[in-house]
Every structure is written in structure tokens, then in C-alpha cells.
Symmetry: C3
Subunit: 321 residues, 3 copies
């Protein structure tokens, strides 16, 4: 992910101010943006969805960033927000899926968002063999383990029921109304942070646009691709309108044109292909995780992006950024 080199040597910033900037960049890096301004807008979007989600997201990013400093991890990485974004997602995700009002959720967030720094370091070394970044795989791993494990732990799980169920073929209306269509378009940005509201999604898009115009354009293209593929293949309208079929496509499209692959007509096509693949993979993942009560999270994005970025050196039409 793009790094802001030299940020940590800026003499004018006090230590707390520098840490705050790192945390905000961590929140922005969920969408690949090394920009504190973008992170501030993202944080506002989380608060707009619910003040507790904002606090948990901030907490997770701050704990992960502080843990990375305590472990002595490379300052340039931490300064660019690259050790904070998985923590932000863990904080928000634990709040959404375990319930924000429980002491257990708070303590598990502290643990999970420090633990993820180790997981990120390990995956960065392993995937680094092929010059592939870790994307949000560390978050996906930690949050999948936590949410799948929680129902077996009576003081971590406060739901009446578990989630485990065999998948059944989809039914229900697949045609989208105009309102469902534009709700889906914006929901695809919000669901990256688990939020279904169209206006929260819009705020995320604004945040991206403030940091990087190309990234915002690719995010829109990804959202449209996910939407079109979901409608053509007949995904039920209810889920599509909440952004559940398109958030992986948004991230894939950004990653494959501009962030990790150099922009070109070929990489735009590559991004569209990847976004379509991630949309089908989202449906497959929903079935795969059903029987053991898991959730799809951004696994479809991560797996698609790992393969599509790893393949670039073999494809003369494309090159890495």
C-alpha cells in the first residue's frame, strides 16, 4: 500500500498529534488511502452510523498502532497507517457482531486489535515472498475466529441463537427498484465497514475522493460492476440493496487499477474482471461459511486480490505500481 515516507520525522508535530495522525491514516488505509483527512471523514461516517461504532473503530486503530510501536515495528509502516487499519476493522466488527455494550466485547477488542499486529507481520512476510500485500486478511482471520468461536464461549456470546445453518437456494425478488439501486450503489462503500446505510456509504466515498480522485472513480466502477453482476445473476434484491453483494467488488476494483497495478486501459479491464469474480465469490463464501456460523467479511476481496496481484508479473499487459 502506498506509504507516506518521512511523516515520522516532521519536527513540528507533537507526539500525541503524530500518533493521532497515524491512527487516522490507519482508518483511511481500510480503503488504501494513506491520508489523515480521509481517515477523519471515515471516522465521522462511523459515528454517523452509531457513536459506539465510531468509538470502537477508533479504539481498535489506536490499540493496533500503539501495539506496533511497542513491538518496535518499522516506523514508516506504522506512520502510514499500515498497522492500524486491521485494528480499526476489528474494533468496528467486534462491536457490530458481538454487541458494543458488553464488557467482554471491549476486552476482546483490546486483545484482538493488539493480536492482529502479529498476524499482519506474519502474513506480510509470507505473502511478501510474491510481493503481494496482506490486504485485510489479518482482520478477516482474527474476526472470523472470534465470531465463529464466540457461540462456544458463554461470556463472549450474548445472542439467543447461533448462526450455523445449511445454505439453501436463494428465493425472493431479484428486480431492483430505483431506490434499491442507488441504495445498493452507496451501500457497497459502507459495507466495507459493515454499515448498510446509503448516507454512511456516501460519506466513505467522499473520504476516498478527498484523498485520491482515481481511487474514487475506481471505487464507483467497482460498485457498479458488483451491482450489475449481482442483478444479472439474480441475487435477491434485499441483500443487494444493502450493499452485501458489492463491497468486495469496490475494494478489488480500487486495488487492481491505481493502488497495486499501474493505471491503464488494460488494468481497468482487469479491475472489472476481478470485481465480477469477487461478486460470484461473495455468493460462494456466504454458502461456505453458513454451516459453521461464519461470516463472509472481506474474504472474497482478499482472495481475489491476492491472486490478481500475484499474477501481474506473468501478464505483460500489466505492471505493478
Amino acid at each position: 500500500m502506498p506509504q507516506e515516507v518521512g511523516t515520522s520525522s516532521a519536527p513540528a508535530e507533537s507526539r500525541p498529534a503524530r500518533f493521532l495522525l497515524e491512527v487516522l491514516r490507519g482508518i483511511a488505509q481500510v480503503d488504501f488511502m494513506p491520508s489523515a483527512l480521509c481517515g477523519a471523514v471515515f471516522l465521522a461516517a462511523l459515528f454517523a452510523s452509531g457513536w459506539r461504532y465510531g468509538l470502537y473503530g477508533l479504539l481498535g486503530a489506536a490499540v493496533a498502532t500503539a501495539t506496533a510501536h511497542a513491538l518496535g515495528i518499522d516506523h514508516a509502516l506504522v506512520g502510514a497507517g499500515l498497522r492500524g487499519f486491521n485494528g480499526c476493522l476489528i474494533g468496528t466488527g467486534f462491536a457490530v457482531f458481538l454487541g458494543p455494550a458488553h464488557l467482554s466485547t471491549f476486552l476482546l477488542t483490546l486483545f484482538g486489535s493488539s493480536l492482529v499486529v502479529v498476524v499482519t507481520s506474519a502474513l506480510a512476510i509470507m505473502l511478501g515472498t510474491w510481493n503481494v500485500p496482506t490486504f485485510t486478511m489479518p482482520f478477516c482471520l482474527v474476526t472470523s475466529v472470534m465470531t465463529v468461536g464466540a457461540p462456544g464461549l458463554e461470556k463472549a456470546w450474548h445472542g439467543a441463537h447461533g448462526l450455523a445453518a445449511l445454505p439453501v437456494p436463494a428465493s425472493g425478488a431479484t428486480a431492483l427498484s430505483w431506490q434499491q439501486t442507488w441504495h445498493a450503489f452507496f451501500g457497497n462503500f459502507g459495507q466495507i465497514f459493515f454499515m448498510p446505510q446509503w448516507y454512511v456509504g456516501l460519506m466513505f466515498l467522499v473520504g476516498i475522493a478527498l484523498a485520491n480522485r482515481l481511487a474514487a472513480a475506481m471505487a464507483c466502477l467497482g460498485s457498479v460492476t458488483g451491482l450489475v453482476v449481482a442483478v444479472l445473476l439474480g441475487s435477491p434484491a434485499e441483500g443487494v440493496s444493502q450493499g452485501l453483494m458489492g463491497y468486495n467488488a469496490v475494494l478489488v476494483a480500487m486495488a487492481l487499477c491505481g493502488v497495486f497495478v499501474a493505471p491503464s486501459a488494460w488494468s481497468v479491464a482487469y479491475a472489472i474482471g476481478g470485481a465480477g469474480a469477487a461478486t460470484v465469490l461473495t455468493s460462494a463464501f456466504d454458502s461456505f461459511v453458513g454451516p459453521f456460523g461464519g461470516r463472509t467479511f472481506t474474504w472474497p476481496f482478499v482472495l481475489t486480490a491476492v491472486l490478481f496481484v500475484a499474477a501481474v508479473p506473468s501478464i505483460p499487459r500489466l505492471r505493478r505500481t
Copy 2:
């Protein structure tokens, strides 16, 4: 996989003829054979099973080969059929498991068999770290995602029911009649392409034998090994006689003696051991994929072969081809 170097520089072939040869080699490479003659026999076998399956297999191989050329991928690889065989399996597989007579199946085959070229490139780079080929893993990935995701997509899935079910212990007769025995022996070749008919399997064996005698002998040994292990362990006769317990053993045996490991008495034993392991793994995979409605495909072959080929440098009794 063995490459035919220099095929693309043969001056006498016209471009369409050269492309046709590449596509036929792609069909043959499903069983590791870089031979257009073998591919033609395989294609005839697919048509013998059903003309639509033949067309879909040809379509998938052609789309994948053309996509590889469009992306500028190494001519020697594409020329030897090494970017076509996963496409062939995707075409046939989509036809068998999604139904050949739907427009959605046709369009998804176009998408899937071009997508698989990217997946193959990525896996070739990643597994190349250990000098291990990708086998049919790209096909297994793409087709697993498509078949598991399809029931959630109302316009891609035309079955009345889903496939998801908890596995239950096997019951039913395990003793094979003489007819079931020889049907199983040939079915083990046909099921590599999802075809249960004994005469289709025989045609595949003939295709292999025309290209490489040792490979045909090892395929037979693998088929017998899978059959014997399945009977000794008590796999129900119904599935065994359709080739469902032995097709992975056939591929493993070919891969481990002659194709990727140099022929010797030791590698014959290694191939038998691997074929036996793949047979047990086939039963395990059937249970593993049950709850989420997946299918076993050639995953047992792929996983066994990855490990057995990766191990070779540590085993002084064996060496790579």
C-alpha cells in the same frame, strides 16, 4: 508439465491451424499430454458422452487459450496447451453441473474460462517457489466457487434443490460384481472429465496411450490402486463402479511416475502410495464439501500431488523429471 518448445515457430502452420493445435493440446493437458492427437481423441470422447459436453469443453479450452494470447502470456506455455486445460475442464464442468442448455451457463463459461488464466498465472508463481506445478487447482478453485455460489444466484441456478447436506456414514453393498469392477476401472479415466460411462473412459485411456505408453501404464496402475483401496476400505459399490473413487488416483499415479518424478522402481512405489492416499482423501473431501454444497472435483489429486511433488528434493531415492 512437459512443454513442446518451438511449436509456435513452425513456419508451415497457418494461424488458425496453430491455434487449433494449441486448443487440442490444451484438452490433452488435462491428463498431462502435450499432444494434439491425444486431445482430438479426448474431444471425441467428450462428444461421445454428449455433443453439448464436447462443445463446452472445446469452447472453454479455446477461450482460455485465446485469453492467454491476448494477455501476452509466454508463447511456449500457451503453445504446449498449458493455459488451455483448465478452461476445458471449466467448460465441461459448468455444462455438467449448471446445465448446458442455459444462456447463463454459456456466459459464465466465457467468463470463467478467461478468468482461470489469471488464476493459473498467480498459482504458477506462488507454487513455483517450490518448483511445484499448479495441476488442476485453477479449475478446482473456479469451478468450486461457481458451483457453491450458484444456488445463491437465481439466474445461474436452475436446480429445484441445493446440494448442501450433512454427511452420514456410508451404507449399502460394498462387494463389486465383475461388471461393476471393469466399469470402475474405465470409469476412473472418464470421471477426470466428470463422465461415468465405461466406453468414454476407455476412449480417454486410448488417447493417453497414443501419446505416451508409460503414462497409460501408470494411469492403469492408478486406476487399479484406487479400485483396490476403495474395495478394501468398504466404499459403497455404486459410486466405485462409476469411477467416483478412483479418478484422483489415476492422475496422482501418472504425475508421480513419469510426468513430474523420474521413472524408477521407487517412483512406482511412490505413485502407488500417493494413489492410495488420494483415494482416502476423496472420501474425506466428499464429507468436507457436503455441508456447503460443494463437489470434490480433482481437489484430492491436486492436494496429494502438490505435497508429493514438493517433497521430492528431500527424498534421495527420488528425483524430478
Copy 3:
């Protein structure tokens, strides 16, 4: 894992005696100890749990060690017991989960414990890319495949029912009595070999302590960590008291302070964090494997340890042994 170099050149030992020492070291290496004395105590513990389990453990370790020699694998590795310990676990595990009194179990143990040598060689090469050991992953792979595949094979499976079931949220008492508490503390050592009895666990701890005091101390710290995390998160008391929630924590704690990471205050904290993570992962794995009838084995230890050991080069506070 620590190797005893030069053991194979000791002139005074006869060949059978040397082989016996290698087999005993193989049994000890389940807990990372390259000590024949420790292995002898472990073997006594297995016999204390049931004479058949002792015989199967010995058989598995002997077959794996002999297979490694037959394949010509590096003498230093085999001499230190590093090609025997997965065989020992396979022998004991097959006896426990397939039933020790069946001919099929005996024959499958012979096959599985020779096969695992190939799997270990492959994984050692692959994980060696990142200087990460294979831990008990080869055992976990082979035994998972065997136990998941067995119910589909009528002559390998002698249970009336399969194990596949959707996971449901935990219920039942979570407060531990004093007796349950100390049973859990010792059971956490015994469950590494699938044994729930407290006195068997105590014998394993004695074996570790005879070989390495630091390792025994870290094993105790891991057991306490697993116990505390399980109780705080509300894991049902019944399973905790049998050691089912803490055996992975024991292995992680040993691995991360002393065995693969140099001892220090930081690595003690690292080991506690890893042990806590492995405990949550144990609950998640129990749910994950439920629908297809799998078992958790030491997968949570393996996955946690792979990540925590791989991360070390990125963490300046820690260094490898």
C-alpha cells in the same frame, strides 16, 4: 526444533539400540524434546492410559522413523526424532478415534505413519521458505483426512453414527470446582496425546521437566493461560476439566518462549498472548469442523504457532533461537 547433532555417529550404540533411541526421541518431540528419556516417560504415560494406546504410539513412531531411513532422509533429522513424532500421534490418534481392536485400524496406521513422512518433507520445504517449522501439521492433515473420510468407508468405520452436526451455542455450567480446576491443569498436558486423565497429564509434565526445566515452566504457564482464558470467556466446565480447551495453549507457550523464540520477558508475554489466541481458536475450530464431522486436534496450536514464529523477524523485541 532443536536437533541433537552427532547422535548417529556414537560408535558404542548397536543399530537396534540406536533405532530405539530415535523412536523414543520421536515420541518426545511431540512436545519438542529431543530426549530419549523424556520419550520413555511419555511412552509410559500412554501405557498408563491404556496398553493399546502405548503400542499404537510406539508403532507409529517406529514406522515413521523406519520409513524416513528407507527413503534416505537426512540422518540428523531422523536421529533427533524429527521424523517420528507425527507418526506417534497418528498411531495413538487412529487407535483413539478409529478403535484400536480392528485390523483396519492397524493397517491404516501402518499406511498413515509411513505416508506422514512424505507430508512432513513437503511441508518442511514449503514452510522452510519462511524459516517456520512444520509443528504437528503433518499429523493434523493425515489424521483429519482419515477421521473425516472414515465414515464413508464401511470397513474403516466401526461407529454406529457419524459425528457431523451443526454447532450450537454452548450451554451448561461454566464455574469450575477446585477438583475440575486441577484436573484441567494436568489434562491440558494429556490432551496433546488425546488423553483426559489428570495422572496421565502429570506424567507428560514430568517427562518434559526431566528434559528441560524452562520448557516445563512454559508448559505450566501455557496451561494456566488456557485455563484462565477459557474460564473468563465462559467455556463449559465439562470440557475445560478434561483439558480440551488448554492443550493448544500449552504447546504454543512452549514454542514461543524457549523452543523457537529466545527466552526473554518479551517472549514470555508473546507466549501468553499466543496461548490466549490459541484458546479462542480452539473454540472456533470446534465449530468449524462440526458440520463435516472433523476434530480439532492440534490445528489451533499449529496455525497460531506458524503465524507467531513467522512474524518474529519483523518484531525487533524478539529473536529466533
